[in-house]
Symmetry: C2
Subunit: 382 residues, 2 copies
């Protein structure tokens, strides 16, 4: 098995890209990544995307995008694992390079959510959850997360405002990221007075509907020593029941625990050895649960990390360092690639005012379906 | 890179499974495959599926199915490449085993098309084609194939009835396959009087809307010598433009040529060394084009192979030996797995009255989007 490195990165700003279609968005991430890597072709393309069939009437993104970026003929496949699609696409690209089958692989996450009308995005996002057992009963995806947040507040005696720190941190960090959607810092007062979406999740607890694309170029370490930006030290996927009611304990993300344990074992580090953690803060409750499942906080203590400032750029474990899902934005199938791309930026000292000083090991964790699929990657500086 | 073998197979009958949901169908293919392989667990599951988001309101099939078959926790990801999704899922499973990352991998193709209402399946299948450039102009997927067939008939001066042999062969072979949807042999007269779908494609030129699931268990050759059923000699993916009008020549499937050439090189065989060929006869025109692009016939001569009987069980290159897409059925995301499973049946002498005598090398070719993604696998007897 070969060691895999990242040799190029590219991204579009996360925003409402009304003037660009799916293939244009992907193009605008892939082209700069190829220039960054100094390559003119690639052996394969793995595309992470969740919603294009439902929102844009377009499946089959692998061949579509390969052709549009001038790579007609190469192997190209779409990978889907709900909001974990980007991480799962990286996982597949990693397998292709590690196996020795391909030398230069593009991994692109792309999502276009804003072309949808009416409740289309709400319905499409709910396909990440169990349609027959849960969604058919009338619950939406944000509704499921609201139940988790309410339960967390009840079990641990936590008030809603205790979660404010996650959002404030994310917006503060996004202000330093030119590719982020929301670059205005927010106050606790603004958090508290935000409109309610699904009680207790308010507008400031939730990541936005948005468009974006991000791309990584992967290669084997032994062949591409010179341009390598970061090494992939671990790549791990774990799953849990889609139906939240079927889980042993809804407040413990077992797949996140399993996925990060597998990743720690592969990378031979412990959670204390991670210098920054790009976690899946699609909703602020998920930030707390991820910190707990991945070993950064005891159960029920994840939310306190927000209040205590441990998650800031200079804190014990910086999270959402370039805005996270909340403030960089969460174009669902692209998010897993943005996360890893931002870890690469941190490890190469390209994170600007959000730079975590001395960071040499970073972790990204991409989650699908409120914890049903969890993809964890650990990267190391070259 | 490790050699990969198939150690177990499982399938459901292809039919209208009104009483079973997606997860049940997948279960009914995975369980017999695991029993066949003599395993009680697996390291990972890759699911091939195209339509579940649009037709069943359910994405995220990896985790959903892993949980339902009692494998909660394992790596599980869905793979999509339109009608080539099954082949692409096998490709991904192959990478996972070849790389050394996983030892026992399940690859399951599953599709449930019959739950759809109205024109839903027609619209959903059209997401395999280029929405912005072609589908938005009003054409359906069968319409695109009808244009190809009409053009073929015009360019090569071929009458419609020349294609009858493909359908007659498929139905004759399906009669020997208890898992096939259509097990009644048909006559040329029946072919000629079949109702028109999209001129010149009639009902007997077209594969049916149906449900089904099929599963393969993969493992490394060095660890699982004893139960191995067949070796994977080649695994190759190639792509072309989704938009048929953008191709250099609509009547030559460049991706099929590229994919089979890559596969022949990996397996170190030529087309003349292939003993049977499970090709992608979603429409009879695709059978002719596949034979030509893969080196079994000169351009314009593919259709003559049907008339000449070269494609029968005892012919020069038997195709659709257990019914093909036309008569076994074409549950789109599952088809690529059914094809390879049937090659395994042939190589292990389990094809009953459809047995190709002495077959030791078989090829399966799964196509998405009228030739935009082509996945070719070559298998060898153990």
């Amino acid at each position: 098995m070969r060691d895999v490195v990242v040799i190029g990165i590219g991204q579009t700003p996360v925003e409402e890209h009304w003037e660009k279609s799916l293939r244009h968005l992907a193009h605008d991430a892939i082209m700069p990544a190829m220039v960054d890597a100094g390559i003119e072709t690639a052996d394969a393309l793995y595309v992470g995307n969740m919603l294009s069939g439902q929102v844009s009437g377009q499946e089959h993104l692998g061949a579509l995008i390969a052709d549009f970026v001038g790579l007609r003929g190469i192997e190209a496949i779409k990978i889907e694992a709900a909001c974990g699609s980007g991480g799962a696409a990286l996982r597949t690209g990693y397998l292709a390079v590690a196996s020795g089958v391909h030398d230069v692989v593009l991994v692109c996450g792309v999502e276009k959510m804003t072309d949808a009308i009416g409740g289309m995005v709400t319905n499409a996002l709910a396909t990440a959850a169990d349609q027959e057992y849960e969604v058919s009963q009338g619950i939406s995806f944000v509704g499921l997360n609201a139940l988790l947040m309410r339960r967390y507040m009840y079990e641990y005696g936590v008030p809603h405002k205790a979660f404010a720190g996650f959002t404030i941190n994310a917006h503060r960090n996004a202000a330093n990221n030119p590719y982020a959607m929301f670059r205005s810092p927010i106050s606790e007062a603004a958090y508290l007075k935000a409109g309610m979406i699904a009680d207790p999740i308010n507008l400031m607890d939730s990541s936005p509907v948005c468009d974006g694309a991000a791309c990584l170029v992967l290669a084997p370490a032994d062949l591409y020593k010179a341009p390598a930006k970061a090494r992939i030290l671990a790549s791990a996927v774990a799953t849990d029941s889609l139906a939240v009611h079927d889980r042993r304990d809804p407040l413990f993300l077992e797949a996140a625990a399993l996925s990060s344990q597998r990743a720690y074992a592969q990378a031979r580090v412990m959670s204390s050895g991670i210098h920054l953690f790009e976690l899946h803060d699609a909703f602020s409750i998920m930030a707390a649960l991820s910190l707990e499942a991945s070993g950064f906080a005891a159960r029920g203590a994840g939310v306190r990390m927000a209040a205590d400032g441990e998650i800031g750029i200079d804190g014990r474990i910086p999270i959402s360092t370039l805005g996270g899902l909340k403030a960089r934005g969460h174009p669902v199938g692209a998010t897993g690639i943005y996360q890893v791309l931002e870890v690469v930026q941190q490890l190469t000292g390209q994170a600007g005012a959000s730079q975590v000083q001395g960071a040499t090991i970073g972790m990204a964790q991409n989650i699908g379906g409120s914890g049903a699929t969890v993809v964890t990657h650990i990267l190391g500086a070259v």
